[in-house]
Amino acid sequence: FALTPGNPRWEQTHLTYRIENYTPDLPRADVDDAIEKAFRLWSNASPLTFTKVFQGQADIMISFVRGDHQDNSPFDGPGGNLAHAFQPGPGIGGDTHFDEDERWTNNLRNYNLYRVAAHELGHSLGLSHSTDIGALMYPTYAFSGEVELAQDDIDGIQAIYGPSQNPIQPIGPQTPQVCDSKLTFDAVTTIRGEVMFFKDRFYMRTNPFYPEVELNFISVFWPQLPSGLEAAYEVVDRDEIRFFKGNKYWAVRGQDVLHGYPKDISSSFGFPRTVKHVDAAVSEEETGKTYFFVANKYWRYDENKQSMDTGYPKMIAHDFPGIGHKVDAVFKKDEFFYFFHGTRQYKFDLKTKRILTLLKANSWFNC
């Protein structure tokens, strides 16, 4: 996180705000609601309180304006610059302006007012932009359906105003650090010749042409997918990736989530109803066989016949010696399965049925 240079802050913790005008894009009640929720995020994490007033000068004046609106920071039409806010202080200090040339929404479509307001109010309270892509105070717009303070945002606001008076201090999600030796994964899959790693709300991928590991929100590609995925695998000859969470799964092709999903895993693959979720999955293009790992067992599914092979489930330890009794994620590359469990990764030779190498989970990130 970053505090605004000069560390401007509000001396009083009970602040007022006023919505000077309303965008025609949304019902007034939705605008009121979005702004109120945005303030509540920050008051929950700090000693600050916010009271809405309906006339006169409030500490934080909120308005929808377009183009040059006489504050020496003109807006730029649709897209680009969405909104801005001024650091704490008298007069224009703390005020927040939304670009009326944008379309303001209360859903996944660009641009969600609640999401942008939560960011701008951070500036009104004294925060600058964070370099943490998972933080609300990151400069670029991303919306994955939820609006919450990341731990980085909470640390920032508490660095200015101290802890919340709530008996239970709020905690927020942390953004994975690709070179953290304790990094673990929820799911891993190949995807059109690349490998994609999933953790919480984020994906990570490496690119042979670019040394930096790309980390971003899963919603950048698939806004409909939930965070905290549990398994993923690619069906190459259908150009499909299947994502699993709980007893449901989604199928995507490129950036499109296919129609009719999510579907139930039992009725789709033939799992017994006792199977409530899948830990990991991987498919062999050559044989059309897909391996589903659930607790200490695994199933084998035939993609061509579209049915579970008989004689399953079997014990993981029996057919994948050394892999143990639990798998977090798995993907196939060349003749090997790469199994992930905690911070460990096992390169498993399918021919000899032996572990060839023990690696760190994030060994693909050139740390």
Partner: protein
């Protein structure tokens, strides 16, 4: 390796505007052409690439331009 395409004129404009808006690049009105590889532009570009965790090259590569074209907050990333 894919050849990094020479930035289009429009991209040069995007880079210039972005760095003026968010990285306090001074705009003294001189021709953009002369500025493309000028010291200040390269230095501000590196600052932006550093901020966004991009490869710090000082040149407007594809990844950098992609970030510059994303919708964002109007508040600068560095103090004016």
């Amino acid at each position: 390796f894919p050849a990094i395409p020479e930035p289009q004129e429009q991209d040069v404009e995007i880079v210039q505007k972005y760095l003026e808006n968010y990285y306090d690049l001074k705009n003294d009105g001189s021709q953009i052409e002369r500025k493309r590889n000028s010291g200040p532009v390269v230095e501000k570009l590196k600052q932006m690439q550093e901020f966004f965790g991009l490869k710090v090259t000082g040149t407007p590569d594809t990844e950098t331009l992609k970030v510059m074209k994303q919708p964002r907050c109007g508040v600068p990333d560095v103090a004016r």
